[in-house]
């Protein structure tokens, strides 16, 4: 079943994507803001939605807000915050029982109305007590992000690899930058976002798109938008710098490794060959890295790779015994070199293609997956073709195409963390 997406200009600089589908028992609606990743602004963006979600003029606290969602057959409204290349995507996500299953009661209008309340009528224009407590929660969350050593290592590696580039700014921002956000500056920021920030709405469900467009248009008519919106900045592309190798110490029982490669700025990584390469090299449990470095050589506990085609960066991260860090790094480099030399088996190609085919087919089976897929495509101005339409391109990719992508990767950064004692033990072995 192929679904098509209709696109509407809801307001200047605010698109609405509507996916009409009868496949699911639920519908969903997202209101997103799209902003350039910026170290000064990131914590304000991360803080805004949690404060808004504490209450509206009509439902001024958690209990009354929650009761209004209960009344909409348990509709869920929550905050979401993502980083896509160099764009911070954040807003309110809701999902609710589709009108076909609510015993004749219409739910969507109530959800649209609640979305409007949250966006336009925060309690007391954003109460200071809500601001204070959510600022504390965010500060706690930023500190807690250090507890996940794996993602923390990746974040540190990116900071070392891309200093000064928006790509290195973390999703939540830093505690220092958060400190300077005040209730006054956050209120002002909210006003600016509503009047001139780029916005993207998404609806998925059984309602005809024109109806949804009408409902949202009427509901959000109160927003006065500036005619001209500032476009998002183009993604910064840079070639590999001189190789940086940095090792830091932390209280960890297992060392963590993150390696980063860049692709030349004038090389545009082709979609299909890029994703097949990424899956085949380190993206799956049948990849070269997983089967060779982890399974065959037992050099690590976990390993995976990710490729950001638009930014032209590939990262490999692994959990390793400190004594094996250097051998693991060498093996990862060697596996990439094998890809580049075209030493790729038929089975590896088939596994990667089958995996991607499964992923693309299954993404059409989840409304959340479809939202993510179409929002990303809209953000990067790609045609809104259904995911299953990309399968053909994937199946056409040859081992030579994969090798051609691999050959363009240039190692830029090798970053690792390990406990003090382990490293001494590791170097004693050398």
């Amino acid at each position: 079943m192929s679904n098509t997406v209709e696109v509407f200009e809801l307001m200047p600089g605010a698109q609405l994507l509507c996916l009409k589908t009868d496949k699911f028992k639920t519908g969903c609606m997202y209101a997103s803001f799209l902003r350039d990743m910026d170290a000064d602004e990131a914590p304000a963006n991360a803080l805004l939605m949690p404060v808004i979600m504490r209450g509206t003029e009509k439902h001024p606290d958690i209990s009354s807000l929650s009761l209004s969602m209960d009344g909409l057959y348990g509709a869920d409204f929550g905050v979401y915050l993502r980083k896509k290349a160099e764009t911070q995507v954040f807003g309110i996500a809701s999902d609710f029982v589709d009108d076909r299953f609510s015993g004749g009661e219409e739910i969507l209008p109530g959800c649209v109305d609640l979305m409007r309340e949250l966006l336009l009528e925060p309690a007391g224009g954003m109460r200071e007590e809500y601001f204070t407590s959510e600022k504390q929660n965010l500060a706690d969350a930023i500190r807690a992000s250090m507890n996940d050593k794996h993602s923390w290592t990746v974040q540190r590696a990116v900071e070392i690899m891309c200093p000064g580039e928006p790509y290195s700014v973390s999703r939540l921002g830093t505690p220092e930058k958060l400190e300077s956000v005040t209730i006054g500056s956050l209120r002002q920021h909210r006003r600016e976002l509503l009047s001139s920030g780029r916005m993207l709405f998404f609806y998925g469900g059984s309602r005809p798109p024109a109806e949804v467009y009408g409902m949202l248009g009427d509901s959000l008519g109160g927003i006065s938008r500036e005619k001209e919106q500032e476009p998002l900045s183009p993604i910064v592309r840079k070639g590999a710098a001189e190789k940086k190798e940095i090792r830091e110490h932390m209280e960890v029982t297992q060392a963590k490794l993150c390696m980063g490669w860049r692709f030349r700025p004038d090389y545009e990584i082709p979609y299909a060959a890029g994703v097949v390469f990424s899956a085949l090299f380190g993206g799956t449990s049948t990849s070269k890295l997983f089967l060779n470095v982890r399974e065959k050589l037992s050099l690590c506990y976990s390993i995976d790779s990710s490729l950001d085609r638009r930014k032209g960066i590939m990262l490999v991260s692994a959990g390793v015994d400190a004594g094996d860090l250097d051998r693991c790094t060498d093996q990862i480099t060697e596996q990439l070199a094998m890809c580049a030399r075209g030493e790729i088996s038929q089975e590896e190609m088939e596994n990667a293609r089958a995996y991607l085919k499964g992923v693309l087919r299954a993404s059409g089976d989840s409304l959340g997956g479809l939202q993510e897929y179409y929002t990303t495509r809209a953000l990067f101005s790609l045609p809104l073709t259904p995911p299953e339409d990309l399968i053909g391109q994937i199946l056409d990719v040859s081992a030579e195409d994969v090798a051609a992508v691999a050959a363009q990767a240039e190692l830029d950064t090798v970053y690792s963390i390990c406990g003090q004692d382990e490293e001494e033990e590791g170097s004693a072995l050398q």
Partner: protein, 420 residues
């Protein structure tokens, strides 16, 4: 083949009971690429004592879970890897009263179903492989013990149900699993993995008859006798009213439980929904009490609650992180005083019922939860998808009655894990 349509949910369920007693359900999902298969055994961590052929039998704590781990071993290799090579994502779990093997795929469903049915019905244990698994499961037990929520929850159940099978740890203890041998596993497989004690449920765009035929090919022809579950007694006095243990954590984690003494034979579905809506009325985010406790900083976003119901045992549980867990318990009891005085507002209760029903309708979007719920209730002789008809008979008085009977000081146990 029987076919039942549930108009308010837009769901259809096709079913068959084979001559050997195996129940087969398929739940069509037209237009979906993925197919989900769920093969469940009415046997879990609770089942350490049972009766069969008039004989009383027992096995070490943790056997059902150990067996689940070992079932993936086949003479020709690991079923897990065979399914992965076919593009299927396989998994399994053991709960207190169920063991289930499952996979999801978008391609080669029939082949994958054959693998699933084959490995679950074919024990292949050796003393060496059992010995090796002991180490892996010991690690898992260690991981559970390192999880403060698991620890708080387990102490709670242990204190509340000292003489009921619910107190048994599904993963077992390092000591208990040391008594598990290939012989124990073989015996338990032949006792519990009999068709009349199992259900196969497939959610997706599949041919029901083909699923039934596959089940026929892989299961024994003969109907075997079912074991009789021993649950013990849920009504004995509490072992402890409060337990405290210490761990490397930044904030205390608590679990507060209230034992509910339900008359035997209460229908699970109806009683479960009453328990869920009643607990939401007193502890849910839309309740007065939740709003007050959140505003006062006694609870935070980690606060959660549930109504748990098993054979012969039921309880309310509230859990989360808090610097003041004892105050949380006191506030819940104070909230109950208000319900005693004023009851539950019927208009709010009707909104909570709506939200609960909406939650269950939304959950039908998950293939796994749909199969799990259908099998769980079918093992108890009930039909999960009848849930939407339960709500009309639920009243605010009924919910308040259940709460007032159960959520009382004398039924309460508090379990806290504190930072070192």
């Amino acid at each position: 083949m029987k076919e039942k349509y549930y108009p308010s949910l837009g769901e259809t369920v096709r079913s068959d009971v084979l001559d050997n007693g195996l129940t087969v359900f398929t739940v069509p999902r037209e237009g979906f690429s993925k197919v989900f298969a769920f093969y469940a055994v009415n046997y879990g961590g609770m089942d350490v004592r049972w009766k069969k052929g008039g004989r009383e039998c027992s096995s070490p704590e943790g056997t059902a879970h150990f067996l689940e781990h070992k079932m993936f071993d086949m003479e020709e290799g690991s079923a897990d890897l065979m399914l992965a090579a076919n593009g299927a994502q396989a998994n399994a779990f053991t709960s207190g009263d169920m063991t289930a093997y499952l996979f999801e795929c978008t391609d080669r469903f029939e082949e994958n179903l054959d693998i699933l049915l084959n490995f679950v019905n074919t024990p292949f244990f050796t003393p060496q492989s059992v010995e090796k698994e002991m180490g892996i499961i010991s690690q898992e037990i260690g991981m559970c013990e390192d999880d403060p929520y698991w620890r708080a929850g387990h102490s709670l159940v242990e204190s509340m149900f000292g003489a009921h099978a619910l107190k048994n740890r599904t993963v077992g203890t390092k000591e208990s699993i040391s008594h598990i041998t290939d012989r124990v596993l073989t015996d338990c497989h032949s006792t519990f993995y009999v068709p009349s004690n199992m259900i196969l449920c497939v959610v997706g765009d599949v041919d029901h008859d083909a699923v039934t035929e596959a089940a026929l090919r892989h299961t024994p022809r003969q109907r075997a006798e079912k074991a009789e579950r021993w649950t013990g007694d849920a009504g004995v006095p509490f072992a402890m009213k409060e337990t405290v243990s210490k761990m490397e954590i930044s904030r205390p984690v608590f679990s507060i439980g209230f034992r509910a003494d339900l008359p035997p034979g209460e229908p699970f579905l109806e009683c479960g929904i009453l328990g869920d809506t009643a607990s939401a009325a007193v502890l849910g985010p839309s309740s007065e009490l939740y709003g007050e406790m959140y505003a006062d900083g006694i609870i935070n976003g980690s606060f959660d609650f549930s109504f748990e119901m098993h054979e012969g045992a039921a309880y309310f549980e509230a859990r989360g992180e808090s610097d003041r867990p004892r105050e949380t318990a006191e506030r819940i009891l104070e909230g109950m005083d208000r319900i005693k005085k004023n009851g539950i507002d019927p208009s709010i209760f009707s909104v909570i019922k709506k939200a609960d029903m909406g939650g269950r309708i939304k959950e039908l979007g998950s293939f796994e939860m749909t199969a799990w719920n259908i099998c769980d209730l079918a093992f108890r002789g009930e039909d999960y998808l009848e849930f939407s008809s339960v709500y009309k008979d639920l009243t605010a008085e009924g919910a308040a009655g259940l709460l007032l009977d159960s959520v009382r000081e004398e039924n309460m146990v508090l379990s806290v894990v504190e930072p070192v």
